[in-house]
């Protein structure tokens, strides 16, 4: 493998302070502040239209924020650190008529690599992602999964310290999703910082050390996975019931109900409503089991978003 990037002893790879961006009077991101510690996988979560892509584009200086400050790898703007950052946009983009190796060499060169170095690193990476045989074929000849792997290589070829991935699992089958997960974990193992935008909670839960939940352009939650879950812990209940259970979703203290085997996972609107819920259940069905449980990230997400929207 190519030499590992010499990573600086940065405390925060990325700092956002009160960043705001509006389009035609509609606020896409509002007063967003966050710190992404170096060397972690940081999840930027949120429903569609939450402002995740806009936030990433501002970090990449593709958009300029209307207000606020963004610091990337200790620099006041990503423009001063472009060669140290890798960015994979949500909508993948590679020249469809260009050859696979040619595209990688061009992208690597734009990121400051010498052409010979880019060529040799690209060849290594193509072998690693099992695309060596396709090196001289056109990008458009590749399958979607192959193009995704190629895009990933184009993003990390120059060994960036900070890797920004916008919806890296979108449109991938489970096998290719696992491949991407492996790549991301490998990046962390190499000491790189990964900023991951996704609305796929299972993958985020598996990968992220820290998350930031964004809804309607505003920050809803921010912290380590454990911190975020702990905050929501008292609002997650697992029950085993006998009888008709359809009424549960309509109870005022319930925000979400998900069947899980014999259990029902119930998410409460507020953290101190479990006694209230139990009282309701006892009066209407037979309760065989009732326990407060650690919520999944999906439940945290749904709960936080529905609370804010309410």
């Amino acid at each position: 493998m190519c030499k590992q990037a010499e990573l600086g002893a940065l405390m925060d790879a990325l700092v956002l302070e009160s960043v705001t961006k509006a389009f035609d009077g509609v606020c896409a991101v509002e007063g967003l502040s966050a710190r992404v510690p170096a060397g972690c996988i940081y999840g930027l979560l949120g429903p569609n239209g939450a402002g995740k892509t806009t936030a990433l584009r501002m970090i990449m200086s593709i958009f300029r924020p209307d207000e606020g400050r963004i610091e990337v790898l200790g620099q006041r703007s990503v423009r001063e650190a472009k060669d140290r950052v890798g960015y994979m946009p949500e909508e993948r983009g590679l020249y469809p008529h260009a050859k696979v190796l040619e595209v990688l060499v061009y992208m690597g060169s734009l990121k400051g690599m010498a052409k010979a170095e880019a060529r040799s690193c690209a060849a290594e990476w193509l072998e690693r992602v099992q695309l060596t045989e396709w090196a001289e074929r056109k990008v458009q000849d590749l399958s979607r999964g192959m193009q995704q792997r190629l895009q990933f290589v184009a993003t990390v070829l120059h060994e960036p310290e900070l890797v920004i991935l916008d919806e890296p699992f979108a449109g991938l089958d489970p096998v290719n999703q696992n491949t991407v997960i492996e790549f991301i974990l490998q990046l962390r193992a190499e000491g790189r910082t990964v900023l991951l935008s996704t609305h796929m909670m299972e993958q985020a839960e598996l990968l992220c050390d820290r998350i930031l939940l964004l809804n309607e352009g505003r920050k809803v939650l921010d912290g380590t996975l454990d911190e975020v879950k702990r905050e929501e812990e008292a609002s997650a209940v697992a029950v085993v019931l006998e009888g008709e259970t359809d009424f549960i979703a309509d109870l005022p203290m319930v925000s979400d109900v998900t069947p899980s085997g014999k259990e029902l996972h119930i998410t409460l609107v507020q953290t101190d409503q479990e006694q209230e819920l139990l009282k309701e259940l006892i009066g209407r069905v037979r309760v065989r089991s009732f326990r407060v449980r650690t919520p999944t990230l999906r439940e945290v997400f749904v709960n936080a978003v529905s609370q804010q929207n309410a």
């Binding site: 423009r79 472009k82 946009p89 061009y106």
Partner: protein, 436 residues
């Protein structure tokens, strides 16, 4: 700068492999080569007969008084051997480097309508003219010259000059003068012809000629600008739209700034245009050399040509880059292409007016207005003298326009490149161009 160069390098490779590039080289080259092959003789003839390019001096000898292009004459001689005398004079002129002349002797047609038979012979292309020399031509009886339906001055001049000299020689012989004395008396003066040009006006200035060679520069230039705008310019636009639609643009913008990206695209396109120009120019120069016309190519016009081409191309490609950045589909682009093309190609529409009135108000205005300046000015300097002041002002305005448009286009590009959907209005784009 390095990133701009990398983008330019890729753009150049993409354009140079495109069919637009191939057509951009082929079409003007083929047209110019055909022009040289077809018009080469006329140009050479013009050079010999005094229409030579500026600055060329030449000496005329008496034999050159009878200079003409290759002329075929039929002579019916009732005038005591004057026809033979004409034939000898023509042969002597040919020995001294004069052009070809074929004299054929024939009797007058004997049919009912001799004039019609003569006309038929000429219309069939058997000869350029038919000269009938009467018996008492030395006493002042006029000869008769028949030409084909159209007026052919070269054939008429040749017949008149030959007959004149033959009559003069015959009269001198009648007077009893020795041959040497006759020759001395009829020897004309030598004369050196120098084309005088106003100082600092460049190559073709002051010629006031409207011949094929000088127009060739203007035609050549027009085709190149035309192919550049409609070929390579459109190729860049479609490439940009493809980059937007395939979302490559966002990946590129994570590596280069919009300004670097646009500058790279414009430079790559300009380099492709210049390469096409150089390739075409080299082929045309080689063919011109083979035809002995290389001396007719005016270096100062070629330099002016290249300068205007580069400045004009930069202006056009900057505008194209700005337009391409705000378009998401080809049909959006077509809406912009027509007015832009008209703006740049207005001199083509007014071509004949400008060529026949190179110092008129319209010609002056178009040669100062930056988008039309390249074509209009190259046309003007090809056919007339353009004051240095106007030339300098035109170049300065064009260079200033390049800087301003490149800057404004960069701002439009920065804002427009990530926009999808309906393109903005012109007023909105101008607002972006002004905003910092």
């Amino acid at each position: 700068m390095r990133r701009t160069f990398l983008v330019a390098q890729r753009e150049f490779a993409v354009h140079a492999r495109s069919r637009f590039f191939l057509l951009g080289v082929l079409i003007p080259t083929v047209l110019m080569v055909i022009g040289i092959l077809v018009l080469g003789d006329d140009v050479n003839e013009a050079r010999r007969s005094g229409g030579a390019p500026q600055g060329e001096s030449r000496r005329t000898r008496p034999a050159d008084v009878l200079s003409w292009k290759h002329v075929k004459l039929i002579v019916t001689d009732y005038g005591d051997g004057l026809g033979r005398e004409m034939s000898q004079i023509a042969q002597r002129a040919a020995v001294h480097g004069g052009p070809g002349l074929t004299l054929t002797f024939a009797s007058m047609p004997t049919g009912d309508e001799p004039k019609q038979e003569i006309e038929q012979t000429l219309q069939d292309g058997m000869a350029d003219g038919w000269l009938v020399i009467p018996v008492n031509v030395l006493e002042g009886v006029p000869a008769t010259f028949y030409s084909a339906g159209s007026f052919d001055s070269s054939a008429q001049n040749a017949a008149f000059a030959l007959l004149n000299r033959a009559v003069l020689n015959a009269r001198l012989r009648e007077s009893g003068l020795p041959a040497d004395e006759s020759s001395r008396l009829t020897k004309g003066a030598d004369m050196t012809c120098v084309a005088v040009e106003p100082e600092g006006t460049g190559g073709a200035a002051g010629r006031g000629q409207f011949n094929a060679m000088v127009m060739g520069y203007a035609w050549f230039f027009m085709f190149f600008m035309f192919m550049g705008i409609f070929g390579l310019g459109q190729h860049m636009l479609t490439g940009l739209i493809e980059e937007k639609n395939s979302r490559v643009i966002e990946v590129l913008l994570s590596a280069v700034s919009p300004q670097e990206l646009m500058a790279g695209k414009v430079l790559g396109l300009a380099a492709a245009g210049l390469t096409a120009l150089a390739a075409c120019g080299a082929i045309v120069a080689a063919v011109a050399h083979m035809r002995g016309l290389i001396e007719s190519i005016d270096v100062s016009i070629v330099v002016l040509f290249v300068v205007y081409y580069v400045l004009g191309f930069l202006l056009a490609s900057s505008i194209f880059a700005a337009v391409g950045s705000v378009c998401s589909q080809l049909k959006d682009m077509q809406g912009f292409m027509l007015p832009i093309s008209l703006l740049f190609l207005a001199p083509v529409i007014a071509w004949w007016h400008l060529a026949s009135n190179p110092d008129g108000l319209l010609a002056v205005l178009l040669s100062l207005f930056p988008p039309t300046a390249p074509m209009a000015m190259v046309l003007r300097v090809s056919v007339a003298h353009v004051p240095a002041m106007q030339m300098g002002l035109s170049l300065a305005l064009l260079a200033l326009a390049d800087v301003a448009v490149l800057k404004g286009a960069g701002r439009i590009f920065r804002t427009g490149i990530l926009m999808y959907g309906k393109p903005p209005r012109l007023r909105e784009m101008l607002r972006w161009a002004r905003s910092d």
